[in-house]
Symmetry: D2
Subunit: 295 residues, 4 copies
């Protein structure tokens, strides 16, 4: 069993940290709002006052925070993770951030003598709690070899994408983009079905039992068919941030992505209208409104 650190205890991080504890590891945790750490403390985790303190003595420090800025601050800010992490230890970065941020962090770790892997995860908090995440992993081969056994108990499978840690971020961004694309597709199809008198629900049931028989369509489709965009899996503003990362990266790589732009626009409108208490799937309302239907 290893001595590990976990930094960032939102809904996702909390569940992942708990699964590391359950796997028998010794865990020190950190969260900006320390109160969030209480349930883990009850399970035996130590609670650190700073990122540096959490990372001190750990073989690996996992991070799971909101966005690029938070990750950079947590990692390279004063009393940050890098200030505490031992040379040779590994930073396992699970947040959804841009490849550029990962590149900057990888460089900072190289200077520091520590290692850096990106290990973004797919799945909502309930999947994290149930250890049903899908994990992408990229970074130096030996670092991947060391951290893989710690990642496996967190999910259903770990997929590796080579030595460049940024590759795992690209995969994560592509996955989120494809979820948004599927939502847009259903929103357009269900709206056409509704206005044609077919109804949203019959089309939904047909599709998810035939061609599109996979959880993504089942789960998101249920919200779109019913027009009830709850419970909240992820907020529109959070996924809008992910789409901005997709588009920023696409801009750098010179890849026009009109479908990603379309979904980003839908999310922008959703955020601009302050629809803050709904799942991000609620951008499907825009399609209904454009067709003159009540949202």
């Amino acid at each position: 069993m290893a001595k590990l650190a976990f930094l960032g205890l939102g809904n996702m991080g909390l569940a992942m940290a708990e699964n590391l504890l359950k796997a028998g590891h010794s865990l020190t945790v950190y969260n900006r709002t320390a109160a969030k750490a209480a349930p883990l403390q009850a399970l035996g985790a130590l609670v650190a006052a700073t990122p540096a303190e959490a990372a001190r003595g750990a073989e690996a420090a996992f991070t799971m925070v909101t966005d690029d800025e938070a990750l950079l601050h947590l990692s390279t800010g004063p009393d940050g993770l890098l200030a505490g992490l031992a040379p040779g230890a590994v930073h396992v970065s699970c947040s959804t951030v841009g490849p550029g941020t990962t590149a900057r962090l990888a460089e900072a770790h190289a200077v520091h003598g520590s290692q850096f892997v990106a290990a973004p995860v797919f799945g909502k908090p309930d999947a994290a709690a149930a250890a049903k995440l899908w994990v992408g992993l990229a970074g130096p081969a030996d670092a991947r070899r060391r951290v893989r056994p710690w990642l496996e108990p967190l999910g259903q499978g770990v997929y590796e994408f080579g030595d460049d840690p940024a590759a795992a971020n690209v995969v994560k961004l592509c996955g989120n983009f494809m979820l948004g694309a599927a939502i847009e597709a259903m929103a357009e199809a269900f709206t056409l079905a509704e206005k044609s008198g077919v109804g949203r629900q019959p089309l939904y049931e047909f599709l998810v039992n035939t061609l599109f028989n996979c959880p993504v369509y089942h789960n998101y489709g249920r919200l779109i068919a019913s027009k009830s965009y709850r419970p909240v899996g992820a907020l529109p503003a959070v996924i809008r941030k992910d789409f901005r990362l997709v588009l920023d990266h696409a801009q750098q790589q010179a890849v026009p992505m009109p479908l990603a732009q379309l979904v980003h626009n839908r999310l922008t409108t959703t955020v601009a209208r302050h629809e803050t208490d709904v799942d991000w799937t609620a951008f499907a309302r825009r399609v209904s409104e454009d067709a003159g239907l009540e949202a």
Copy 2:
């Protein structure tokens, strides 16, 4: 066992007609190019010289042709299906056509005293041969009740959409639209992955083993990841016609469908460039080209 007719013996129709024969029905077939009927004749089918002759005496006449115009001509033209079909018999229309065409045919049958159901099918010719189609069915309840047992052996499931036959066409068009949407999504994601150094294949394998684990993504994804758009399941021009039907219907129902427009545009370019020996998935090339990659 019933006395049935089957009109339109392209790759799809031929396989479906053969399955009706195998189910033990007595079958009269018609095709514009009569030679196509030979294999069915060898299995016991009668070959008619005209649509009217094929329909004469049949309890139900199935049609499976290329487009709206062909269906209208076959059905209501001189020596057409309607000229031979007995009052009370049912026309089972399996082609992918617009709801408006179905409405016109339903009206013609009402005048004639016969019945009309739409029963469009999902699946490629190999699925038709393997009796793995998915069938949508709509039309008057008693007609649906009569034809359903004949349709079941053609596929894996028959889904009903009420009394208005046009509803089944809407479902078929929505399904094809959603396939195109999934292709566009993969094309954009795989292109970003390629230019980012992740590669198309690793992203494909991750996605279809995790979030998008359904045949649509497996099968179309393989073509898009490999950039080998063969074998040809359906030609770009054929599916472009389907997307035109989607957009025409969306225009009538006042439903903006920007994603359907995007895919239609991709198919238009593919057709305008005379890429005629590839599967329709090849519209994914447009995404590569837009990013400056060799097609």
Copy 3:
């Protein structure tokens, strides 16, 4: 001076017919709702009871109606224009219709022995009244030569587009498309300026006094800058019909027009929401709404 007929006395047709009278021609007019003809009668026009009667004896019959269907009915229906028009006389078709409709009418006239030119006009009713229209003209050269002197007093200039009358329709559709494109561009720019604190009006004034110093930007821009989409020059539903013609023609010619689709979508939403008492420029509201602003 010539003996002419004018059929279709909406706001545009009425003004054009009056200018033909003022030019000294002898004029017989027809309108479905005969009362509309009263002001012309007061100026000396004869009022016919049917299109055929109006066309009888005329050297040329002008038509100005709402859409393709109305034009076909007026021209080729019972007691239609063709039933009255003398062989050798010319049908001058001024409506905004699709090239396909023009092709069908040209063929009907060829059979009949009469001639057909398309002469669509650019300008609102006030421009028609002030004889400030721009006229596109296409059709057989001798027919163009004959009708040109009658068209010139209606506007500021007559532009010829060759022997195929459909060419003039294409030009008209392209022109309307470009107006919509300019409106969309201003709507996006003004909305960005508004949310950035620059304000719509200052940006408008800068643009129309510098780079975009032409009446289109001045006039439409004023409505968009002020968000007051009145007075009504043309209804959203009418111009939406024009964009449908653009897209139908683009589909036939295999030309992807994403900008035309965007504007068509905006107009569809405007119509789907029953915004019927505003100028078509009001589709700019969609841009404001998408940015979370009050319409």
Copy 4:
């Protein structure tokens, strides 16, 4: 007459600096590649070795460089403009940069005790040489009052946009966006006309003599109608940068701009294909290609 500095002697800057000299001002200039300054030296300008040296003693320092990074480096880097500019003097920033960059510079000047105005210009190098630019101006009122007389001889008009210098950048970005929108509109219309047999040139001539009778349509339209995208006014990569600034700002302001995205995509493809010896208008080729025409 004033003592001024001009930093950044590309095609635009060179022409503007020359006009300041011609207006009788005493001018010190700086350019990274000093050789570019020779013609100005011949006219009496002093040539400085660093930005700081150029700014020293100047009442106002004008800057005209390629992008945000260049401007920040020139201004705040070692031996930068700020290191030389006297408290109370004004930095007149003419480059096309993002509002965020302007905000950062304004803050740096506030700290320094100097003033900052943004004065982006519209027009190509030939317009700059002919003193036919249009100038937007924003910043503190007294600074605007001081610099306005120096800006006026550079163009046909100076338009003010209030106290926040970033407002002028927004106006500049909106203007460039609208140029791109007009180009896309013409490209789509001309391509439809070409494939319809009307021809690009006749449509162009009609439009620019009637509805769209302003220089933008005349000048850009000529390139698009002829498909000869030369001479180069601005490179695709340069204007693509401007569109990125538009979209970044729109993202921050939460304004979906689908037309700006469309043009950005066209430019991205143009850059990704290494079309580097053409005017940016050449993105119109993408529309031709999408319709199956030779570029």
